[in-house]
Amino acid sequence: MIDFRVFSSHLLLAGQSVLTATVLAAAIVLPRVGDPVLMLPVTRQAARDLSGRLFDGKTLVLGAGPVSGSLVIKPTGDPAWRAFIAMGVLPLAYPESLCGEPDDG
């Protein structure tokens, strides 16, 4: 069994700070049910696949995102976020303060 008492306090605090910051950030950026979601592709292929995947009639696309290839959507059902993540698309809560109000039309 590993004796975790050998971990220094600084290492513990640094790790805990990183994790806390990560979780708090995730709590901010992860999409919420009923709210607009910024679909941010991390690759060009992901951007191409995203368009084909979103226009399936189940997702309401509100508009283009602030980043090229990104889209702002509003899920109507149970979105398969993992599938999007597997495609290389990060579903993020839409930051309206940074991107303005999404265009529903």
Binding site: D3, L19, T20, L24, V29, G34, E96, S97
Partner: protein, 513 residues
């Protein structure tokens, strides 16, 4: 970051807080999972996973036993994240914003760590999280849109709560410090009390041992005293027995002595009476002796005269005895002459006897011859017979003469003997007479002495009479004294009996004690 006043109690409370919050972390995880399961959140496991991720480091170090300030700070940071995850899970729900209250709950829970720095860190993280959420996702943070005042209201609530919680924690720490000091003081007092108790117990133990030794010593002393008392009592009883025996013997001896004394007194009394009587008799006898002594003196004087006369007569008798001795010697010579003459006569008688014998033989021969002659010789035979008869007569006469001579000789011998004896007797008589004369002379001197002694005896008898009178007085005194002695002996017998009874009662009490 380091608490300037750490105490053991505070560390202990903080350790319990760490353990409690670490345990509750997993409660948060389960709660968030449950909330997510009830919501239409896309990924049910996301919220519990986030909570687990943020809880994992603190849980590991807490399970490893660490309770240091870094752990508390890390735990506070993890608690600052849980409400945010709840807000995330309840996104789109009507109660989403109500979940903000759990930031305050989390901050209050962090106060269980009694670490202001942890509380500040958690409050800071919460504030930053709100500011970022307000800045990035205004609608997310505050339903209804961006409102700086609402943000400040929330932050103010956190700050105010932080202030109060800080005050509460500080006061609690002070109280804990005071309690710790009081506890330390009480522990010191308790230690002192324990030390005193130990000392008291040691003292009690020593006292108990001392008491035990004292009890043992007391028991031994009591046993020794009991043995000593028993021995003393035995010795006392032995002494009492000896005393009783001695007193009994003494009493018996005294009783016997008293009886003997009484009897002696009685005897002495009797002797005194008899002495009185005898003294009277002695006085009479002494008087008579005095008279007799005087008479004896007189008689002795007369006897002296008689003795003098006898002395003269004895002298005469001695002279007569000497004369008789001389006569006796003369008669003895005469008897000796008579014996010589008788011897001569005897010789004549023997000659005659020889002649008669020869004549008888001749007569016999003549008879025999006459016989041989026959008738012629008858005459001759007659003459021979006559001659024979004469010879026999002569022989007979000679025998008679010899017998007479023998008688004479015997008588002479007896006379000689008688004369010899008479001479001896006369010699003795002469000596006796001389002795008698000497004795008479001595008797005469003795008589004179006896007369003198008789006179002295008379005087002594007179003195004896006087002494007898004194003796009579003494006998009277002795009689009175013997009476007193007998009374004293009787009293002594009574005292001895009383002494014996008292001794027996004393010894009986002594034995019963």
């Amino acid at each position: 970051m380091v608490d300037p006043h750490p105490t053991i109690e505070l560390d202990r409370i903080r350790a319990r807080g760490v353990l409690m919050l670490a345990s509750c972390s997993w409660g948060w995880i389960i709660l968030l999972g449950a909330i997510a399961a009830t919501q239409h959140y896309a990924d049910v496991w996301l919220a519990p996973a986030l909570a687990a991720i943020v809880s994992l480091p603190t849980s590991i170090v807490v399970l490893s036993g660490r309770r240091d300030p870094a752990v508390r700070l890390a735990l506070a940071l993890s608690y600052a994240a849980y409400p945010a995850i709840a807000v995330l899970v309840l996104g789109g729900h009507a109660w989403q914003m109500d979940t903000h209250l759990y930031f305050l709950v989390a901050l209050a829970a962090i106060s269980l760590l009694y670490d202001v720095w942890a509380m500040r860190a958690a409050a800071g993280v919460m504030a930053i999280h709100h500011v970022l959420a307000w800045a990035i996702m205004p609608r997310l943070a505050f339903e209804g849109g961006t409102d700086l005042f609402r943000l400040m209201l929330h932050i103010g609530a956190v700050v105010v709560e932080l202030m109060f919680l800080t005050m509460l924690v500080r006061r609690s720490k002070l109280m804990i410090g005071e309690l710790a000091a009081a506890r330390a003081a009480s522990e010191a007092i308790a230690a002192d009390a324990q030390a005193n108790r130990t000392a008291a117990e040691a003292a009690l133990d020593s006292a108990a041992k001392a008491e035990q030794r004292a009890n043992g010593e007391r028991s031994r002393r009591e046993e020794a005293e009991e043995i000593s008392r028993r021995r003393e009592r035995e010795q006392l009883i032995a002494i009492a027995d000896a005393f009783e025996a001695g007193i009994t013997n003494l009493a018996q001896s005294l009783g016997g002595a008293a009886d003997a004394l009484s009897r002696s007194a009685e005897s002495l009394n009797g002797l005194a009476q008899e002495t009185d009587i005898r003294a009277d008799s002695v006085a009479d006898v002494a008087t008579q002796a005095s008279d007799a002594a005087r008479a004896v003196a007189d008689h002795v004087a007369a006897l002296s005269g008689v003795i003098a006369d006898m002395d003269d007569r004895t002298g005469q008798q001695a002279d007569h005895a000497r004369h008789a001795r001389i006569a006796s010697a003369t008669g003895q010579q005469t008897v000796l002459s008579l014996i010589d003459r008788a011897t001569q006569v005897e010789q004549f008688a023997r000659t005659i006897g020889d002649l008669s014998t020869s004549t008888n033989l001749i007569a016999i021969n003549a008879s025999i011859e006459a016989a041989q002659v026959g008738d012629a010789g008858k005459g001759f035979a007659i003459v021979a017979g006559e001659v024979k008869m004469l010879a026999q007569q002569a022989r007979g006469e000679s025998h008679k003469i010899e017998e007479l001579v023998a008688l004479i000789r015997a008588g002479a011998a007896e006379a000689e003997d008688a004369l010899k004896e008479a001479g001896i007797v006369l010699d003795g008589a002469s000596g006796t007479a001389d002795d008698l004369r000497d004795a008479m002379r001595s008797q005469r001197a003795d008589a004179e002495a006896a007369r003198s002694r008789s006179t002295d005896l008379a005087a002594t008898a007179d003195a004896l009479v006087e002494d007898t009178d004194a003796l009579t007085g003494w006998a009277e005194a002795t009689r009175r004294l013997s009476t007193e002695v007998r009374s004293a002996a009787t009293s002594l017998s009574g005292d001895v009996s009383a002494l014996l009874q008292s001794t027996r009662a004393f010894v009986a009490q002594l034995r019963a004690a």
